[in-house]
Structures are given as C-alpha cells and as structure tokens.
Symmetry: C2
Subunit: 325 residues, 2 copies
Amino acid sequence: MEKPYVVGIDIGGTNTVFGVVDARGTVLYSSSIKTGKYADIEDYVAALGQGLMQVIEQAGGPEKIKGIGVGAPNGNYFNGCIEFAPNLPWKGKIPLAQLISEQVGGIPVALTNDANAAAIGEMTYGAARGMKDFIVITLGTGVGSGIVVNGNLVYGHDGFAGELGHVIVRRNGRQCGCGRQGCLEAYTSATGVARTAREYLEIRKDESLLRELDPSDITSKDVYDAAMKNDKLVLEIFETTGAMLGEAFANFVAFSSPEAIILFGGLTKAGDLIMEPIKHAMEANMLKVFEGKTKILFSQLKESDAAVLGASALGWEVKTQDPSL
Amino acid sequence: MEKPYVVGIDIGGTNTVFGVVDARGTVLYSSSIKTGKYADIEDYVAALGQGLMQVIEQAGGPEKIKGIGVGAPNGNYFNGCIEFAPNLPWKGKIPLAQLISEQVGGIPVALTNDANAAAIGEMTYGAARGMKDFIVITLGTGVGSGIVVNGNLVYGHDGFAGELGHVIVRRNGRQCGCGRQGCLEAYTSATGVARTAREYLEIRKDESLLRELDPSDITSKDVYDAAMKNDKLVLEIFETTGAMLGEAFANFVAFSSPEAIILFGGLTKAGDLIMEPIKHAMEANMLKVFEGKTKILFSQLKESDAAVLGASALGWEVKTQDPSL
C-alpha cells in the first residue's frame, strides 16, 4: 500500500514546528519545540525525535509515513546539511537530515532551505499548482526565495541558489545582516520596513501615528497597524517598499521569465497596499517582451500551516542525501 | 545509420552565416548571405534555402543532416518564431523555423536566440563541457545571455528568459536601446564601452590616444587598440566596465549559483584587462556562501565559427516547434 502521509518540519530561530500532512495538504497532527532552548545539536535532535514520534504514532506509526521534509535556514538540498545559519544556535556543518532520520527509525528525510520549501509547497498544494516556471519570495524577518524552472527547483551547482533577498538593489545602500550593503532584504524584510519607518520619522515632518511610539521600538507590526488606520506617512512606506520589490522583480523576470511571482510571509498581510505598488513598479521597469505577462500572487497556503506544509511537500519525493558532499 | 552532421545558422542584422558541422564541432562547409539585402521575408528565406542546399549537397545531401539549429535575435525556442527583433528587416511574428524547414525538404529546424545558441554551443563543444549550471554572457553590439540550470537551458514560461543584458544596474542611468534606462547592456556592450570613452574624454582632462580621434567616431575597437598601447585613461574604462559586469554577476550568482560564467564576444579580446576587474568586483560583491566558488571563463569556441557552432548544437536535439504557440 502507498504510504498515505508525509511529515513537514519547519526550523526557525525561535520555534521548530512539525506536523503530519496528507496528500491534500491537510495538517493532521502537529506540535513544536523551542529551537533556541537547545545549545547542543544532540539535545535538539533528541527532543525533536521524541516530538516527531508522538505525532507519527498519532497518525498510525512510521509505516504510514512516506518521507519527511525539512525547511531550515541555509539548508542544503544536495547533502542534507545546514551550514552558515546565522540565526540557529549550532555552528559549522550539521548533517541534520541524517540525524533526524536516525531518530525516527530510518524514515527518509530531505532538507532544503525554508524558501525552497515554500516554493515546493506552493507547487504541491498552493498558488503554483500546474505552473512550471515561478518564483516564491518570502517576506519575513529576512527575504528569501525559491525559484522553479521548468518544474524543478533551482539549486545551482552547490545547492545554495535562490538567494534573491541578497541581490544588491542599491549600490552603497543600507547595511544588510549579511555584511554587505544595499541588499533587497535590507529594505523589504520586516526589519527593513521598520527601519524605513524610523528613517521617515527622522527625515520628515509629517504627522503619523508612529510618532506616539519610541522609534527604536517600532516593528513592522506597528507599521502595518498604522497603515490599517490610513496613516498617510505609513502608506508611503508601503509604496516605497513595494516599488523596490517591483523594480527587483523586473530584473528577476529578465532572468527566468516566470509565469508568476508568489509572495509569502508577514508582509503579504498588507494586501493591496503592497501588491499595487509592486505591480506598478514591476511593469514600469519591465523589458518590453515581458510586459503584462508575469502574475504577482499571494501564497495560497494557510498561514499557520504554510511552513510545515511547504517542508512536508519535500517528503513526497525524498531521496537519500549524502552528508559527505 | 545515425546522421553524422548538423547545420548551424547564425542570423545577424548584417550577415546570415551558416555551415555544416560534425559531432566534434568542426565546421566542414560554410557560406553566408546578406541579411539586410532582403526586405521581404520570402525573398530572404528563398536565398537562404538556396545557400543551405549548396552546403548540404557538399556534405553529401539532406540524408546526412540530423537537424538544423538557428540562432537569431529574439528567437523563441518554443514556437520557432522570431518576434520583436529590432535589428532585423522583418516585422511581426515570423515562423522562421518552419519556413527554413520547408526550403530544405523538411529537415527539422530548431530556433533560439543567439545567446542561448552560444550557451548550447559551449555545453556541446566549448568551455562548459561537463557543466550542469552555468551562464554564458555575450558581449557584442548588445549584451545577451544563455542560462543553463541543471543541464537545461532556461527558457521561462514564454520562451524569452535570459535577458541579462537588460537587468537594470543603475536606477535612472543611461538610456538603453530597449527604451528603458540603466541596463547592463547600455554600459558593457561594444557601443556602451565606446560611449563610456566619449564620457571620459568629455569629463576628464587626462591625456589619451583617443583624443586624436573625432569623439563621435570612436568605436570599441579604438578603445581596445588604445588599451593595447597602455593608454592610462582607456585602461580605467576597462576597469569600470569590468567592475559593472562583476557587480551584476554577483547578483546573477545569487539567482542560479552557476559553476561558471562564460564570456563570449568582442569584448573578451581585451583578456585580463576585462577579466581581472570582473573577478575582483564579483568577489567583492558576493554573498558569503558563494565566495570563491564561481569561475569566470572565456568562450572556448573558435571565434570565426562560434556563432554557427552554437546554433548547430541545437540541431543535435531538434524537436518540432509549433508556430501556433
């Protein structure tokens, strides 16, 4: 009998969320542990293994699970390792796919980065069903991307392709967390948007609800809340942020000519406030041959489940990964 | 018996060059016609058909030819048509692959743009043999690109992917022939380099061999010749041009993480003068995870044959193209 379920694991800097998922993209059983609590990778893997076995038993046991997919920052699909992950407690190259597989009686585990997992999730269960060429852009604490070309995720020669949050969009621009200047992420991530707000408050004289807050405490949530109250200054912040994304997207289209660019993550809650300036700036900067061809869509994965769903989609096509690569 | 030869056709604005090629990449018989002489597509195709049949007969007749590959500006691989080709005499959408096939007794014809043809040529006969992930950048009158991901050319959802000469590298920058501003092509094509020279001569006071020429007559060949004589101002022009390419390449790497970026076309004659600033700027702008991993190589296709060879490589894997797409 075909095994009916997969498991998705989403590893974030704060929480690790995991769940059993069926073929229609329903999360049947889920749980989580605190990533940050485990300074030692062995303790982390043991706790994760225990949690995984609980949800797997709820689903009927390991013989029901076809594979496990993991989305993790800087996860490398080729070797199943995480490397250079600045927001995770463990340093060096960690063969995480293998370590997890050992905890669950050898169920095969595939690992990739969280944005690639989101792209596979959209293709399997979401907005990209039936598409062969699309890009998912994740707009969260950072900005990530998963690029699909001709039905396959683009991994590049080393497994790390698709770092579109780190294309440089402004020469000598803002300092980015990656150590360079002017990356798309420095402007259009949640932290980038909050930073833009602080800059606006300093440079401009306009009234704004944000002036009631201590500037250093302003978060992207505050910016969003003010936008929902039609705060004029804040609406401009969304305009600017959307325009930078749209300009960047026009360049991405020149690269892989995707049918759609799909937006995923916190910033998408702003809806048309961010969508309209993106579309406008993208078309205004588009090479003629691509004009009017590329859709901008929001993710169709249910937000609370999206990361687990995305990761789980990898579980359907898991192959053994070689940590020696 | 396996058919031993293919035919490559390179369609440029001035000349159309074609030849019969064997499996080792040797051009056995070749000829050309003047593209610009034929304002009517039917006259052009008839003349091309006549020329093709001559070289095909020299090679032993149509039964020796496995397929014909065509590289043409704005050629669309999906439907075998050329569209929006500003430097060709014929307007509208022209089903060129089908028209050529009809002229040569139905030998299958595949068509793509010239930069994609160069990429397939490098993969089949040149610097990219054995590589699965690489980008070819053509530095000629314009700047084009052919992107290979996991062994396959990236065509995108509409067949027009890979327009890396038209990523915008300077907001509100130089006017580009495409109608937009600040494209990579506007700075790093042959005409872009000549334009940089004219700007330098105007803005700067330094001595230069180029000052002996009428500024409006300066070509990239003049700039190259002056560089070969160690003209200091001109060496700076190569530095600047190389740096812009290197900055752009760092962004391309963030997209598809290629094993190599291969340079093709006139500007590569400058050798280390252009290679060194490219490498330096690319590494200086590279995201940490990609540092030191991507090779910059010159094309290994013999220059006089390169365009025909590149196009011919398509002939080995030709499929029927549907002009109705």
